[in-house]
Amino acid sequence: MIAVKLASENAIIVYFGQQISDELVDEIAFYSALLKQQLADLIIDIVPSYTSLMLSYRIDKINHQAFSARVEDIIKSNTRVIKSATIKVIEIPVLYDSKVGLDLTACLEAKALDLTSFIKLHSECEYRVHAVGFSPAFAFLGTVDPRLVMPRHRTPRINIPAGSIGIADNQTAVYPVESAGGWQIIGRTPIDLSLANPDNLRLFQVGDTVRFKPVDDAEFLALGGQR
């Protein structure tokens, strides 16, 4: 069952489940696109995230009860979730090295893994974008292999360099710009994901697939990486 709750005087939030899963990502991406298309003249913004969708809407055109009813109706009358046949795949090169992976050595020790196995476990699977937020183009990727799961630092770091790849619990992500944060930093991508390139804003959407490609020092530098 879905649950619709009030979020604010001009927003509601729809819950599709309580557990994070790749299946739910497909569902939320599907309903997000569907609602966007069918209620484009009413919706101001739509925020998909893990298990929910928040929708803000024009209160001069429709009130809370009527909008909630329209949204529920659209969801309940479209129960065949269509997975896009062409899921966008984004490949991100990563240098896994303690020179740039501030927590890599500690992670290897904590997980009793050698570097080669660690890289294999992190880069040989596909991740789905479960949410985008925290800052623009920051994509929360799931799901990390159980052997790599690491909690956040108790005290966040003040400065995590742009491009840093982190792990927090069973999620992984790239920091698009230098920021504070508590994730375990295991590597760095040489590519610029900041809004200095405005196209980066639209790089990640909930439902997209991300792959990490290990690169060596020379490739990292050749791709413009800084360390």
Partner: protein
């Protein structure tokens, strides 16, 4: 050209009605922290509500006019002067080349944010659907000394429009924040809700455009963090330590603290004018009343928000 900044004070930014249609890419709302004051400034000039204004934070500002134009100053009364003589706020003022506008540093009990609107709005770069600067997101830059702002020239007029006195807010009166029961409200126990309602909270000095942090008697046994979800303007997060954070214009799009309610948007405008150390209390409000009041406000200022079909 219209103005050169001579002193930028604590934080000086360009803001407009906000950034919409990109929240699914993690882009936050942004825009003027006090919608009431900022929209009055544009309204008096006959501007569009979304025209960009200067948001002055805690004063210590000075600029010089490079051309003839009309301006309106609203918001916090920070002892504004025009060429060292007192200037009337909440009213149109004609400015000529060489005029100096200045304000003092905010004193205790005064408001936090003042707005300067200019005829036709400030023509700073449009960044992802909006001119609003968001420092947390690295979108745009704060205004600095010697920055030059562009707007259109306007001739003197025989009339000056002003806001009636009874509609000008008093930022030193006690603030009751009306809120809607939303999100995880039903997951809070009656005891937890009573703690929240039956006390006054103090605004903390760590408050900013992203959120206002409050401190009071802690709400006991708050659930730890939950799955992150979309957070609306005014969401009241309760931290693991049991203290509220009210999320404002520069908030992230998603967050993982449980939320006990959502403050009514027009009360958030008043909150953004309260300095650290001020007290606030919460009072529940009906959704129908909130929607009606907000709609009247939108109709008065001609606010029409963009929808996804425009993006």
């Amino acid at each position: 050209m219209s103005f050169r900044i001579l002193r930028s004070g604590f934080l000086l930014t360009i803001q407009d009605g906000g950034r919409f249609g990109l929240a699914h890419y993690g882009v936050s709302q942004s825009g003027v922290a006090d919608e009431q004051a900022a929209y009055w400034a544009n309204h008096l000039l006959g501007n569009h509500f979304n025209d960009a204004v200067i948001e002055i934070t805690l004063g210590d500002f000075e600029c010089i006019a490079l051309d003839e134009t009309d301006i309106v100053i609203t918001g916090a009364d920070l002892d504004f002067t025009l060429n060292d003589k007192s200037i009337t706020m909440w009213q149109e003022n004609h400015i000529v080349k060489g005029d100096k506008i200045r304000c003092a540093t905010a004193k205790k009990g005064q408001g936090v944010r003042a707005y300067i609107a200019v005829k036709g709005g400030f023509k700073t770069p449009n960044l992802f659907n909006s001119r609003s600067v968001n420092l947390r997101e690295h979108i745009g830059q704060p205004l600095q000394q010697d920055d030059v702002l562009t707007s259109t020239r306007s001739e003197p007029k025989p009339i000056k429009r002003s806001t009636p006195l009874f509609l000008r807010p008093n930022y030193s009166e006690p603030l009751i924040l009306r809120f809607l029961a939303s999100y995880q409200y039903a997951d809070f126990t009656q005891t937890q809700i009573n703690t929240f309602l039956n006390q006054s909270y103090l605004i903390q000095s760590t408050s900013d455009r992203t959120g206002y942090r409050l401190e009071g008697k802690a709400i006991a046994d708050v659930a730890s963090k939950m799955i992150s979800e979309g957070i609306a303007y005014g969401s009241i997060e309760i931290t693991t330590a049991g203290q509220p954070i009210i999320l404002l214009k520069d908030r992230p799009t998603i967050g993982g603290y449980p939320k006990i309610g959502t403050v009514f948007s027009l009360d958030l405008a008043k909150l953004a004018q309260r300095q650290p150390g001020c007290e606030v209390i919460f009072k529940s409000m009906d959704l129908e009343v909130a929607q009606q009041l907000r709609q009247q406000f939108n109709a008065f200022f001609g606010i029409k928000q963009s929808t996804l079909n425009l993006n």
